[in-house]
């Protein structure tokens, strides 16, 4: 399995001018995108909307067809919004890259297993069946580091399954490290940055 921070670091290292839309562990301030990002002004963490990061990313991809949009989803999050795979594939955004951080658990609520996590659900087949144009899967850092260029060269919508190590949060919510950048601030900064580039 791949360490969460390592996976985010690999994606960030190849982002160029892509917008990154992380949620849950991929957006965690201790081991997600905020810890490694190289271009925060184009980072739009999404939380608190029940698995909607991929929908937000789709909207940006449709409005900015010349720019890559990279969504970093969670397995529990995607299960809350499984239809979004079909919503995305219906529009066939060529600039849309959907990374699934599959750790098999609800990490932020204490590590309870998610439905389908015991080898029941095949995420690559789910994405392929939903109509994604290309599907990749990685379960170790070496292969992922080698394969990331091929992933980002593929025409979207692209789905990338990553088997990542669970990093379970057991600290009471009120004592957890908070983001230094609010959701509103991120929303405004990304909007302004994209407007300035147009």
């Amino acid at each position: 399995m791949i360490n969460n921070t390592d996976a985010v670091r690999v994606i960030d290292s190849k982002r160029e001018d892509a917008v990154l839309v992380p949620t849950m562990n991929a957006g965690n301030v201790r081991f997600g995108l905020p810890t490694v990002t190289s271009n925060q002004v184009l980072d739009l963490p999404i939380s608190g909307a029940m698995g909607k990061a991929s929908n937000v990313g789709l909207g940006i991809a449709l409005a900015q067809p010349g720019r890559k949009v990279i969504v970093m989803d969670g397995d529990g999050s995607l299960l809350m919004n499984l239809g979004s795979l079909v919503t995305t594939s219906t529009k066939q955004p060529r600039n849309f890259y959907h990374f699934l951080f599959n750790n098999g658990v609800y990490a932020v609520t204490g590590g309870q297993p998610i439905p389908g996590s015991e080898g029941v659900t095949n995420w690559e087949e789910v994405a392929r069946g939903a109509g994604y144009a290309a599907v990749f899967s990685f379960d170790n850092l070496e292969d992922f580091t080698t394969g990331i260029d091929e992933v980002l060269a593929a025409e979207g919508p692209v789905f990338v399954h990553l088997a990542v190590e669970p990093e379970i949060e057991n600290t009471p919510v009120q004592f957890r490290q908070r983001p230094t950048r609010s959701a509103q601030q991120a929303y405004q900064e990304v909007t302004a940055a994209l407007a300035a580039d147009n």
Partner: protein, 170 residues
Amino acid sequence: MTTAIPESILHPASLVNELKKNDVSHVVWLPDSETNFLYHMMMEEPTLDLVPVCREGETMAVAAGLWVGGAKPVVLIQNTGVFEAGDSIRGLCLDLNQPLVMLVGYRGWTRRGPTPDSAGRFIEHILHAWGINYYLVETDEDADRISVAFEECERLSRPVAVLIGTEFGS
């Protein structure tokens, strides 16, 4: 004795004209039984890009992304979909101060007699609870309230709802 069916008084063209007048780029929507005529007209309108979704909660999130990317979306769903989309409205539209017009089919709305449909009974209470202002459109003459909603949502950077209180006619 036959009962005369009243002539439709809200035409799809009135709504599409409002969308064009306000430079709407995308309609993020999930159809309901009342909007089929509107669907055909929107499909034929080259300035509108339709984004169909599988569940209403997706509409606010797709619209948020479109807005971030510089487009100008509206959401078109039924009031039952507003109930379904509750956490997206809270976590995206309201928490992010998203200037979004939500066109909402007012299922169960009637000016006459009781309203047996709970979808009709609850929607205004829900909008009040969230502090979302709304306008009612029932006829072609009401359609310019959609422009009022656009002006308000952009001025206040908040979501504003437009309740479509009648079925569209052809």
